[in-house]
Symmetry: C2
Subunit: 186 residues, 2 copies
């Protein structure tokens, strides 16, 4: 007996790629609020029914698109210099949030948190895991790094709320300095 439970290759993968590319194109051409599944269907050449079957809702599809983009983006650096790595990370987050991906991420995050599913997008937990690993390695080197929650609260959170409130975000370097000033090595 063969295990014929899923079939991720070939045409399925091609359809997914077409759809995600259509989402990418459409989100750069127009405001996110007027994006519909019907538009994605027409642009991608994939039938509307297929979109409902595979992704269920527009938010589900957008979540997949964001996860894909952020995952394919370059991972967190680990150069051995905690200060430099944190600045690099903060810069990356600030960049991600300032672009169209920021709006996308915010929208899907809220949709997920307010919906039935309580889970974060895989791409986000992956980033947090990478950051945790970075901090662990710093500790292994004998440094006294901050906790993950401190990094999130002091460096990441202000970047998100700037997007939420429409204010200009603080400089990433300033945020990292603030974090390390609160939590000096040794």
């Amino acid at each position: 007996m063969s295990n014929h439970q899923s079939r991720p290759g070939g045409r399925t993968a091609r359809v997914r790629a077409d759809v995600l590319r259509a989402v990418d194109d459409l989100t750069t051409e127009q405001p996110l609020t007027q994006l519909t599944l019907a538009q994605v269907a027409e642009r991608s050449g994939v039938h509307l029914g297929t979109l409902y079957r595979r992704w269920g809702t527009l938010d589900g599809l957008l979540l997949d698109a964001v996860a894909e983009r952020l995952t394919t983006g370059s991972p967190i650096r680990d150069t051995g210099n905690l200060h430099a790595d944190l600045e690099d990370y903060a810069h990356r987050v600030a960049e991600d949030l300032s672009g169209p991906d920021g709006q996308l991420l915010l929208r899907t995050l809220v949709a997920v948190r307010l919906g039935t599913k309580a889970e974060l997008p895989p791409a986000l937990t992956r980033r947090f895991d990478e950051m945790q690993a970075l901090l662990d390695r710093a500790r292994a080197r004998g440094e006294n790094p901050p906790t993950l929650q401190q990094v999130v609260d002091i460096v990441v959170a202000p970047l998100y709320t700037a997007l939420l409130f429409g204010t200009t975000p603080a400089n990433p370097a300033t945020l990292v300095d603030r974090l390390l000033k609160l939590h000096p090595d040794q």
Copy 2:
């Protein structure tokens, strides 16, 4: 010639009150995602067409509901002790975000930021203004208070991201201590 441009009293006010009460009830009974204008119409006894006429969209109605709730809430204290006032404020924000109001606020904020309107809910800007006045008075007393952006970044932002990521928020007192430690009086 009379000025017959608006008519805010009497029945109009009653309808608005009925509708907002229905929103309050429904948001505590079920997840926010499955709330519809049709539900609000049925519960409040106000015709569906009226809801579309006055509020346009569900998000518009929710925005009004949030503004009403946050405005009727007690204002920021100003006891003359900056530390105590900040803690009181932080506590209040944490409370607001933890309940059903938090989801409501988050959803409307995202809707506003992603929609055509670029303006924040008046209730929020009002809170920020009150906080700014608090800081100004502290400065007038001869203290050296942090800036509004620092208060938002260090105290408010982590409370919002905790809701966004589904993590347990940091203690409000801890956040205020962190702010004042970074920015000692004199």
